[in-house]
Symmetry: C2
Subunit: 321 residues, 2 copies
């Protein structure tokens, strides 16, 4: 069963057909980056319509069982996720309300510090702040997965320790394999794994360096991650952004917080959207990757855990019934 | 000319009459604590009505000249202020819009970290964050005074250095005189003064200890502050909360960020609203304090600078024409 732990594109019927062609049982989408509560309601409403209009291909998942049911019916389950927590509008009680509306994964910060904690792009990371402690425990209580991908390393470690349920890094790589502010140090990854969490390895070009050049080379990166934290704690979170363009890129990187060009995981020398990866230009790359893991020394069980089994177990643990 | 650098009460005609009885030329009010943009617009609208209904006593000030004009007409000028920056809803461009609506003083954080920086009550203070640098420069550009009263010490020092105009601590005391998380260390106060800023000494009981017991004793605290940073950099910011009750206290302390009782500058042993100060129960204490400064060794010019002149100079520098 294939699960993509994080995507952030613009979706239409063609992209949903790619999900089916890749035999994806589930993906986590990005409902919000900087969107506030009202804007996130708009986005959730748009997603309800989009899923209804393509009900022969996709369905919305609130539980791990929903994903299994979708898979049995040859559909792809869409798990509602957010890459920021601005949707809370500072209200602790909105965690429960957004959970009721289907939100199952929430990244504590996107690229900037907020009331919850620090981001990987801030000069100084505060760690998990007063509101952050409240929000993590509320997410634990209602069954929403804590995502630490763009979060700062101190806040990440604090959240791993403070959370009463396993947490996720849905889309990042070990910085000991490829150094980048968006990638994660070994101590954080080990702490995450020790508490039952999952790291989703990302095929996003800007945080991969040369490892991304071929699928067989990338299997080496997977192997390094597995050696570091164990095969039960590694998954895939492509960070695929199918059909997103300059408008979406500027929204992600600059939101409404700056007028000055900001390059996120890119740079002034590499300002545009990252070039698609040959072997993972869309989710039809999933079977390609699964085959590559097989010929690069992973057993069928190991490949299955990495390609989706670990996410499903984590979702079952965190989302509840 | 008397100016109160920060108040946070509930206002009605009786409180405005107290402002006149104290011969206040101006006060800075608290339009917002945790209120977001829409809620702050509601509050600004309410203030417009309230001022219109009491136009014989008060007027709204956008400039230092407005304050001088109000004083000449025996009215008290109300300067619109905020104790939080949640009113920005994360939008850099809202700084200009709220300035257009009259907002002239904005505290970067209230009691919790936000996207701008750290608070005095957080375990770790990040310093001025990415959005914080943008916001301070935007406040500089439009003419809005940066207030660091509830802000963390590292963020405070960063903001003093990053700001291109003098900044304020509208309502706090030196922590070398009375240690409390809400009070400020000497290095921060010195940096503030070196760059032309003003510290508003607060008569809020919880951050004063025994110094508050008599007006003559409190003049000693004023003297200590003047010795530390110079008579041109000390003003008064009472933090008076006339007519606010449990609803307002809970809003200030807990907002919507926690369900758990939180005591702000109080404590579990001292959970309620602080007992009013005998000699500064309302702004009729201003002439009492001015007299006391006179009999405690301050010259008339010094007392005048402390009681309002320093604020007026700072407003003239920062608010512009």
């Amino acid at each position: 069963m294939f699960i993509d732990g994080l995507e952030c594109g613009v979706y239409d019927r063609e992209v949903f057909e790619e999900l089916r062609a890749g035999n994806l049982a589930a993906i986590v989408n990005t409902v919000s980056f900087w969107e506030d509560a009202g804007e996130t309601l708009d986005r959730l409403g748009m997603w309800r319509d989009l899923i209804r209009e393509n009900a022969d291909l996709v369905t919305m998942a609130r539980t791990a069982a929903d994903i299994e049911a979708a898979h049995a019916e040859n559909k792809t389950a869409i798990v509602m996720g957010s890459q920021g927590s601005e949707l809370l509008d500072g209200r602790l009680r909105y965690v429960e309300l957004f959970h009721d509306l289907g939100l199952r994964v929430m990244q504590l910060t996107y690229n900037n510090q907020n009331a919850i904690g620090g981001s990987c792009y801030e000069e100084v990371d505060s760690g998990l702040a007063r509101f952050g402690k409240e929000v993590v425990r509320e997410m634990n209580a209602v069954g929403m997965l804590v995502d630490l991908s763009h979060v700062g390393n101190k806040t990440g470690l604090d959240a791993v320790e403070w959370s009463q349920r396993p947490v996720a890094i849905t889309h990042a790589n070990p910085s000991s394999v490829y150094p980048h502010p968006r990638n994660k140090p070994d101590d954080l990854l080990r702490a995450l794994a020790e508490r039952g969490g999952v790291l989703g390895l990302a095929t996003y070009r800007n945080i991969n360096g040369d490892w991304i050049e071929s699928v067989d080379r990338w299997c080496e990166l997977v192997k390094r991650a597995v050696d570091l934290i164990g095969v039960d704690h590694v998954g895939i979170g492509t960070d695929l952004s199918r059909k997103s363009g300059l408008t979406e890129l500027n929204w992600m990187r600059m939101g409404r917080w700056t007028r000055t060009p900001n390059f996120g995981a890119g740079s002034a020398a590499n300002p545009g959207k990252a070039k698609p990866v040959d072997w993972m230009a869309d989710t039809t790359g999933f079977p390609v990757l699964a085959d590559a893991l097989g010929r690069n020394g992973f057993t069928a069980d190991e490949a299955s855990a990495i390609m989706g089994g670990n996410w499903l177990r984590l979702y079952r643990t965190v989302f509840g019934g």
